[in-house]
């Protein structure tokens, strides 16, 4: 029996889809069977980021409505063993699926896969409700911006109200140079407000733009800083205790995060 993880943020453009693509790929690189589910019906992106757009025949709505069998809608990623994608429909909208149907879908996928990674749309409306309906746990993505942190806070509240306790946090697109100058919120500031467990910090990396445009997740690129961060996050999701990268080049950074981390989870 697998685990369903929803990747959500509230705010748009913080990196949900990129994170979902990289985590799914990262899990398959660690020999786990994973399926990526794009629930952003009407604004699908995950297929593009994965470079699988031209292979879509059936989609999530088809599978839910019974137009096809679930197996038929799953696209196998030939580059990574054990990685599949269930794309969203592009010509429908969020109301085409109900939370009950999502629960059923997740149950079916759990039978087959070790991990079901759900890419949640931005917002807190129907699409969000669908995405979290079948989830066992959640990963909340934020960037070091006040607006993104606000939305993440709201999302955490909604997750808790829907009985998805203890979501994990990924802080994306951190620029340590700016943090050091005091121009950007630090990881400590963000954790202080959100008070949830940190599972990863992803540095701002130009390579991400290149890799998403090419449809090759950064996690498979050994030279990419963001890729390294995603590899670490993947291992932490699997329960490994991986130290945080020393991104700032400051010796006490890790210690600080660790201290906070330990303090919060104690």
């Amino acid at each position: 029996m697998g685990e369903v993880i929803v990747i959500t943020s509230g705010k748009g453009g913080v990196g949900k889809t990129t994170t979902a693509a990289n985590l799914g790929t990262g899990l398959s690189l660690l020999n786990k069977k994973a399926v990526l589910v794009d629930t952003d019906i009407g604004l699908r992106n995950l297929d593009v980021v994965m470079g699988l757009e031209n292979r879509i025949v059936y989609d999530l709505v088809d599978a839910v409505e019974g137009t096809c069998r679930l197996k038929q809608a799953l696209i196998k990623d030939k580059r990574y063993d054990g990685l599949y994608l269930l794309p969203a429909a592009q010509t429908r909208d969020k109301n085409s699926v109900t939370p009950e149907q999502m629960v059923k879908l997740c149950e079916e996928l759990k039978e087959e896969f070790d991990f079901v990674i759900i890419d949640c749309p931005a917002g807190i409306e129907q699409g969000f409700k669908n995405a979290i309906a079948g989830a066992d746990r959640a990963i909340v993505i934020t960037t070091p911006e006040v607006s993104a942190v606000r939305d993440a806070d709201r999302i955490i509240g909604l997750l808790e109200a829907n009985d998805i306790k203890n979501p994990s946090l990924i802080v994306n697109r951190v620029r340590h140079e700016m943090v050091r100058k005091g121009d950007m919120m630090s990881i400590e500031d963000i954790i202080d407000i959100l008070a949830i467990q940190l599972v990863g910090v992803v540095p701002d990396d130009e390579n991400i733009i290149i890799s998403t445009n090419r449809g090759e997740p950064a996690v498979s690129d050994n030279k990419s800083m963001a890729g390294q961060a995603y590899r670490n996050i993947t291992r932490r999701i699997l329960g490994e205790d991986v130290p945080f990268m020393d991104l700032a080049g400051q010796g006490n950074f890790i210690a600080k995060v660790k201290k906070l981390f330990g303090f919060r989870s104690a």
Binding site: R150, D153, R154, G157, L158, E160, D189, I193, A195
Partner: protein, 223 residues
């Protein structure tokens, strides 16, 4: 209400009579309407001594004199004074009860020492609204975008960054206390205040907010 805009209105207050004059009204019409009104209540006005205030249109000294004469002649009232009240005849000022959605009451529980109490364990997150008739204690933070409205006191064992309203039913004795007090907005009864912009995020200084002399004061706790 249809013609309320071009009608003179009389209002009795503790300080005397208030005449509300619509902004664009002609002097002649003002005098006519006042005469009519005063005549209709002649019995009430006869022999009374009145202080008169008027709002809305500012009258010249001559016009004021004419107005007083008109009232005296038509009812036998004696006018002690007449003056312009600069306050706009606003329809109805927003009542504190409407401020946070708590019904306003005349009687509260005794001072601030007693009453039902709601405990909230964990962080109150953005978008959450807590409305409680009594005291509220939060064992955690209250984040930006959250709203805590209590008819009694609010105590936060953490940082308050959202909106908090104590004594929301009109109780000016209510207090707000927190380990770190930097709300987006702090309300007690019908008063509203904001946190100073220069707040030091790093300091952990327990503080208490209460009303003194009609102003919200924030002081270190235990002073």
């Amino acid at each position: 209400m249809e013609n309320a805009k071009n009608q003179i209105a009389f209002k009795g207050t503790a300080d005397g009579l208030v005449i509300i004059i619509p902004g664009e009204m002609e002097t002649k019409e003002i005098l006519e309407q006042v005469a009519l009104k005063v005549k209709a209540a002649e019995k009430f006005f006869r022999g009374a001594k009145l202080k008169v205030m008027y709002r809305g249109r500012k009258l010249t000294e001559e016009e004021e004199e004419m107005l007083v004469q008109m009232m005296v002649v038509n009812s036998g009232v004696s006018i002690e004074s007449i003056r312009f009240d600069p306050e706009q005849p606003q329809p109805e000022r927003e009542k504190p009860s409407k401020l946070s959605g708590m019904p306003i009451r005349k009687i509260f529980f005794k001072e601030i020492e007693e009453g039902p109490c709601k405990f909230i364990k964990g962080t109150v997150r953005g978008g959450t609204r807590i409305l409680y008739e009594g005291n509220v204690v939060v064992l955690g933070d209250a984040n930006p975008g959250s709203e805590i409205v209590a008819s009694g006191n609010v105590v936060i064992m953490g940082t308050i960054r959202g909106m908090v309203h104590a004594g929301a039913d009109g109780n000016r004795n209510a207090i707000v206390a927190a380990l770190r007090l930097c709300p987006t907005q702090l309300r007690i009864a019908d008063l509203i205040t904001r946190c100073p912009e220069t707040y030091e995020e790093d300091t952990f200084l327990p503080e208490i907010a209460s009303i003194k002399d009609g102003v919200i004061y924030v002081e270190p706790l235990g002073k």
